[in-house]
Symmetry: C2
Subunit: 138 residues, 2 copies
DNA sequence: ATGTATGCAAAACATTTGCACCTGG
DNA sequence: CCAGGTGCAAATGTTTTGCATACAT
């Protein structure tokens, strides 16, 4: 049930917002660019403009509903915010994204920041490479 | 001595290339955007176009001479490649960049990748926040 | 000389914004 | 009904590219 989330953000429940949230919720690997979302909406015969996709994504991000990532390449990708923080592994070949979390890394980051008199407000850790096994869709 | 580096990359020794390399070598915090480099060249009365700055930076990056980073915000920043890998701490207020390296984090990354059948070709770790002490220039 | 580099202007992208019309509550 | 939302086209900001000229070797 996503309507509540949209309402809680102080936004009206509109078709574009519902559709975009639904797309992101059901996307295979949970990470999509604005263009990808736009194209998928088009093929679903939704009449939604690219500008609206960007506006909605920006609003959702401001509301904490989704998170914006800047992986390699030019365009940003978005994912539904999950309760728990995690980092990413991105396959340079297929674009596949896998999430991971490591307590030791998190702790080390804090320790390093403290040692430098730095107060962390956020961080980005991305591993680029390739999956040496199968499982590709993209 | 930088000429050798340019030559080794298979590029001719030209004024723009020398000047840009020199700027990056002597920059206070070693991290500059293409625009910053361009503006500083202008104020040094160098007659170099922005397009050339971008072209040279891209060539230097391809040659491994410099590294391109995508910190918060829109434009990429560049730094002279150092022998030893390091990650970054970026001050959201002043833009100040501090480098760090942590063996434990590096090892954990490898372990995590291995556990996922992932071969790392590169990674990006950036801490965003603020320095709680003094020392700001920007 | 001669293949590379460069400067300039125009193009290419990703993203944002202005504005008149539409729509949800 | 009416503030907020949307589509479209135009604007923006960053980076790239085409092309004629200039330079390094």
């Amino acid at each position: 049930m996503e309507e509540k989330d949209i309402k809680r953000a102080g936004l009206k429940i509109t078709q574009p917002r519902l559709k975009i949230l639904e797309l992101l919720s059901t996307a295979p690997d949970r990470h999509m660019s604005a263009e990808e979302i736009y194209r998928r909406l088009l093929s679903n015969d939704e009449d939604i403009g690219l500008a609206t996709v960007y506006r909605v994504l920006t609003q959702f991000e401001a509301a904490g509903l989704i998170t914006r990532h800047h992986f390699e390449g030019t365009q940003a990708v978005f994912e539904i915010s999950s309760e728990d923080h995690h980092d990413h592994m991105v396959c340079s070949k297929t674009g596949r994204v896998v999430e991971f979390f490591d307590e030791v890394i998190e702790q080390r980051q804090q320790a390093i920041a403290a040692a430098h008199g730095f107060k962390i407000s956020g961080h980005s850790l991305i591993l680029y490479g390739e999956f040496t096994q199968k499982a590709d869709e993209s």
